[in-house]
Symmetry: C2
């Protein structure tokens, strides 16, 4: 019989989790007291919080027969939170994690979750980040909340509001792969039949690979604005444009070139790969602006130019043209949309 | 018709919440970017996370006809998190908040929640603490997670592990009132019929009043160990004793004196007030140890003495005697217990 969390006390469950949590160099006091203590060397702490809810943000069993393991959910929770720190130009220092668990949740699932969290921290290049504490609750559905802290190491943060007319627009990281992987999970195409291209998309949806060293590198290279692409390029570009009071004009040819990497998936799923690139979230790449003439750091590609605010008030254009829905940011992911 | 969260976009809902969130002096960058930035003046950040789940940690409608409003849930979320920082001897600097909401949740409930959060921060004496960011998700039940940060202002943290044989044991704050209020909520006694004593217990259950300035004061007064009483005095004393490798011997006469304040409630509910004092959590008072001879700060009362670890290995005794369940910490609140 599978051991479930309802069969253990909270302290017994914690005793199984603690040894699996990654401890990095920034942790001055780890789990076990009322609070943890994290180093904040330059006198500032960057902080963010993000939640994943079962059957909203992930499914344990997908329509195509694929599964999201505890490891996958832990990896993704770490990846998307680490990305919020990266997008400020900061380096992650710690996470605190809250799990709401149905009593029927296998203990093994929770152990896998802890392993996935730690594996993402190390595997994505944030080994200084510790899992410093957490909380366990009972509930009727799985809810995973991670709060993450970071250090700017003396740098100014790179905000959404700093883009200037004349800047280059650049992105770093995967574009549209998580959207393709999601479409695949929601399809009837069995995981056992996946081509290598499909398997890659499925894997990058389950375990996204945000470019975690790119944020601080971009900050040092003079990025004027930056954000994490978590809800889709067009939606997030609209937010950056609004925060900066500018228009972001994207280069259609470059974006179609980016979308070519998804063509094999798109053919199988009868989808438009450019739509995945424009509206797909959860790859957690970076959208950044740099002064014209600045050399882009490794991994960044130029996808357009920052213009003075369009006379029609358009936040984002492609080759100078509006597109349906972009002006109000309605293209992309909304957590309450039906 | 009541406006529900399903009828608003995430950004529309955030626009209603943001103006209600308290902004304190420690916030260097507030909500709206990928992360917030908090001051950490002495180069360390204290951090904790805590979750409340609907129908586990609170009910919107109680058996006695009482309700927990959004304001109550927000107040309590703030109070219990601020208490975790207080218990380290630190001063709270910021919160980030994640709300998982059924689509049917009234927008007014969420606005009330934000007001309750801010009111607790100011009302409980933590005005320097900001609500610096958050996340909204859809889900089938209400889940409220708060991560909170604090500053030690150059002091050493007061851990659970520092109690020494010979120390005094002291508590600060309400004892057993939240347990009495919970029993009242679970009874058939209508709120409209409450005597002043019952109304006080009900109010302190809905909106606990942890002694938030007492933690740093105790630290400066030389407290050797400290923790937040969130799961009941006996259970939490057992944890402190285990962390320190000592036995905590409590004074039964003093505890019975403390319980006298609950006698009016106990008579009505046919309950034992001492049990509320010994096992009731959620008042979020402080359990501290101080060197013998030290003057206890205002608000602290002595409830016993720290002894060398009992030869029988008992963590907590009352007047030198064991009591059922205490040695394994099984008395008090367990999140997964049936």
């Amino acid at each position: 019989m599978t051991l479930t969390v309802a069969q253990l006390s909270e302290s017994e469950l914690l005793a199984r989790i603690f040894p699996r949590l990654h401890a990095g160099s920034s942790m001055l006091l780890g789990p076990g007291d009322d609070s943890a203590i994290i180093a904040a060397a330059d006198g500032r702490t960057v902080i963010s919080i993000d939640t994943q809810v079962q059957d909203k943000d992930f499914r344990l069993l997908w329509p195509n027969g694929g599964t999201s393991s505890g490891f996958d959910v832990g990896w993704k929770a770490a990846a998307q939170n680490l990305s919020d720190i990266n997008a400020m130009g900061a380096v992650a220092t710690a996470m605190v994690v809250s799990l709401t668990l149905p009593g029927t949740t296998p203990v093994g699932w929770v152990e896998d979750f802890a392993d996935g969290l730690s594996a993402a921290i190390v595997g994505l290049g944030a080994p200084q980040c510790s899992v410093a504490g957490g909380d366990l609750s009972g509930g009727s559905e799985l809810v995973v909340t991670v709060a993450v802290t970071g250090s700017l190491d003396g740098l100014a943060p790179v905000l959404r509001s700093g883009a200037q007319a004349g800047d280059q627009i650049a992105v770093c990281g995967n574009m549209g792969f998580a959207a393709a992987g999601w479409a695949l999970h929601e399809s009837s195409i069995l995981p056992s039949t996946h081509s290598p291209a499909l398997a890659t998309a499925a894997a990058l949806f389950s375990r996204p690979e945000p470019p975690l060293s790119a944020g601080p590198v971009a900050a040092r290279a003079g990025a004027t604005a930056m954000m994490d692409i978590s809800d889709g390029l067009l939606r997030d570009a609209t937010r950056l444009a609004a925060a900066s009071g500018v228009t972001l004009d994207l280069d259609g040819a470059v974006l179609r070139g980016v979308a070519r990497a998804l063509e094999d998936c798109a053919v199988v799923l009868d989808a438009d790969p450019l739509t995945w690139v424009l509206t797909g979230g959860e790859d957690h790449g970076l959208l950044s602006t740099f002064p014209e003439g600045a050399s882009l750091p490794d991994g960044f590609i130029r996808i357009g130019s920052v213009l003075s605010l369009d006379v029609a008030g358009l936040a984002v254009t492609i080759d100078g043209q509006n597109f349906k829905g972009a002006s109000d940011g309605a293209v992309g992911w909304d957590h309450f949309a039906v």
